[in-house]
Symmetry: C2
Subunit: 436 residues, 2 copies
Amino acid sequence: KRRGASGHLLKLISKTHPADMAWVFRHLKEDERTAVFDIIVHTDYVGEFLSELDDTLVVELVTGLEAQYVANVISKMASDDAVDLLEILPEELASSIREHMAKKDREEVEELLQYHPESAGGLMSPDFMCLDEELTVGDAINSIQKRSQEKEMVFYLYITHGETHLSGVLSLRELLMHPSDELLENIMNPHVISVNTDTDQGEVAHVVSQYNILAVPVVDTNYNLVGIVTVDDIIDVIREEATEDFLQMAGVGKDRDILLKSTKENAMIRAPWLFASWIGGVVSSFIIAGFSEELSHLIALAAFIPVVTGMGGNIATQSSTIVVRGIATGRVNMSEAYKLVFREMQVGLILGLAYGVFVGIVAFLGYSDTALLGVVVGLSVFISMVMAATLGTLIPLILKRFDVDAAVATGPFVTTSIDLLGVVSYFFIAKLFLGL
Amino acid sequence: KRRGASGHLLKLISKTHPADMAWVFRHLKEDERTAVFDIIVHTDYVGEFLSELDDTLVVELVTGLEAQYVANVISKMASDDAVDLLEILPEELASSIREHMAKKDREEVEELLQYHPESAGGLMSPDFMCLDEELTVGDAINSIQKRSQEKEMVFYLYITHGETHLSGVLSLRELLMHPSDELLENIMNPHVISVNTDTDQGEVAHVVSQYNILAVPVVDTNYNLVGIVTVDDIIDVIREEATEDFLQMAGVGKDRDILLKSTKENAMIRAPWLFASWIGGVVSSFIIAGFSEELSHLIALAAFIPVVTGMGGNIATQSSTIVVRGIATGRVNMSEAYKLVFREMQVGLILGLAYGVFVGIVAFLGYSDTALLGVVVGLSVFISMVMAATLGTLIPLILKRFDVDAAVATGPFVTTSIDLLGVVSYFFIAKLFLGL
């Protein structure tokens, strides 16, 4: 072990909460990270630190270590955190680490690895407190006292019929309120809210936040208790899903670690989403070129292209964001989808009328020698905005209907298609009204 | 009381969790809502139901009731929920309800009302379990057993020095692990994570999720324990703040209940944000009109306006979303802001170069008689994208620097200013290269 500066650093690190350390670490330079991790890696602190750290950084750090060493670290971690770590590592490294783990730990981890990482099974911890319903309150308190320090928080006691069949729930506090010879089955709450191993993590988050509970038991198809998902994991799920939706709406993929990527990786992640916009731009250039005869008769037409596409694009973004977020928070009821589309169309009519008139007046005043230009521009803004509000609502609803993540395809695709439709209708209206 | 249909409905309602009832209620028609609430209002269930319901609906329902009746309902609610309800009602109604409350309840509520609703004081519940550090484990268990059924969840016991000075924390489970004659001060954890009454709710959420705790004690300036914020309220804060950021980024204000508003209200909320886009569109029409001489020489120039503004707008949205979300989740470190701007500018250079070349080739092939048009269009897309990535990063960072909510002003303003800059630079480049 080194002394001096490292000694001080070691002291400082051991006094810092692993979550704070992860936060600091994220903002360090490359060489500082190496120096700090060299110290952390030799402390008991390393497991908790890694479970708080961003995936991208974890992969970088762990890849440089020996498989046997990582196996030792992972064995000491809570098994749900251990599984999360193994899941982000390259397949080859992960299986080499698993081989270096003791049989019992390996089996526990492999049990959990079979579940989809975004399901209740993938989130759950197998460390929970469960008691047979035929025990008395006194037995229960004894057995709680006997359990050694657990990693998971305990606040609910799950009650089983036989070894594993979930039959009720009891809070630690309720347990204390009853005489010690009372049977658990007489005081437990038999209406347990539970989820299945393959319930989607978003749904698990919904259950936990809907019912204000601190943990939800996870059962298999035979209603055997196999794990619990705690509220701290749910908070992470809610934050992560919101971040992914933000990024997807903006057309940046869904990698939450984008700020930690290199410039080149960042550009590569974003390039494909800009392609939609590029295609749209090229197609609209062909459309406009197709009307160059009309344009040459009235150059002023060109001046209003951006306002037609801009107003449409903005109201489309409003509508689609409201719908995408409404779907994510459970506020949009699919059985009433048609009502929502109809309502947004009405909003488009109102706002399209208002802004169409405003733009029309500007066009009329600016180009008084072509009085009809005001009508053409105003009508085009109106139509573009009505279409945009309607399609901006419809597209995410249709995606949802076909179980496609609404956030993915909404952002860039909606604005691009609105651009195109806006340009086309603008020139058709111009042709019609101005007889070009 | 009515019978028949209402009787069945009453039975159904009493068996439904209030949170589920609120969910169903949201999707009922106006007259169905009235019928269902007529039943709910006469049950003990009404308080919990109202605390789960959306603000807009609560205001509608409560406005129709007598102040005395609402006062009775509110007195039975958890005081933090009671305060939340009073805060959303019209001032006159709220104070009339307060006057109808019993003195003790009114004082408790008025104590909480003095805090900002988005601070720890506004979120906290004054119902918590605290014990003097000089008590023994046995005394503590007795006192827990004596407390009648509380509304708030109990999992941490806060330990005080004297009546109210916060000195430590202990979990209910840790309490059970120690002999009954042990003093609390010897077994408590003296390093309590706490927040101040005026800590912003976002910061409280950050603390709770950072340290994976289930509740955080709230202290006044003298470190006296005055309340606790529980994790279920934190989940609501996280969800609500994410929803507000989504809406603000899309330029829809920040009213989370927008899906429950009438068409007219909805349009009114959205109109002002479209104004930014309208101004931008009108200004760009003047700019383009200013170049009508150049346009008349080369009509093809008009065809590429949408691609120049579109590519810029899309990369600006990407950059600003990454930064706004990064600020919200604490991933963006303001002391390194210049590095982030520089990096995004580099991403803009890479992507601008790639898509500039692609667009340039299309322009060159499409208009081979004006070979330089390809260069003009390509260069314009490149410059527009570099400016967009840079400004899209810079604007939210500057807003944050001046403590303005970055999400508010980012969406519509960034895209509008990028549109304008894109159009201006496009025509200047055209003028320069094509000698029009």
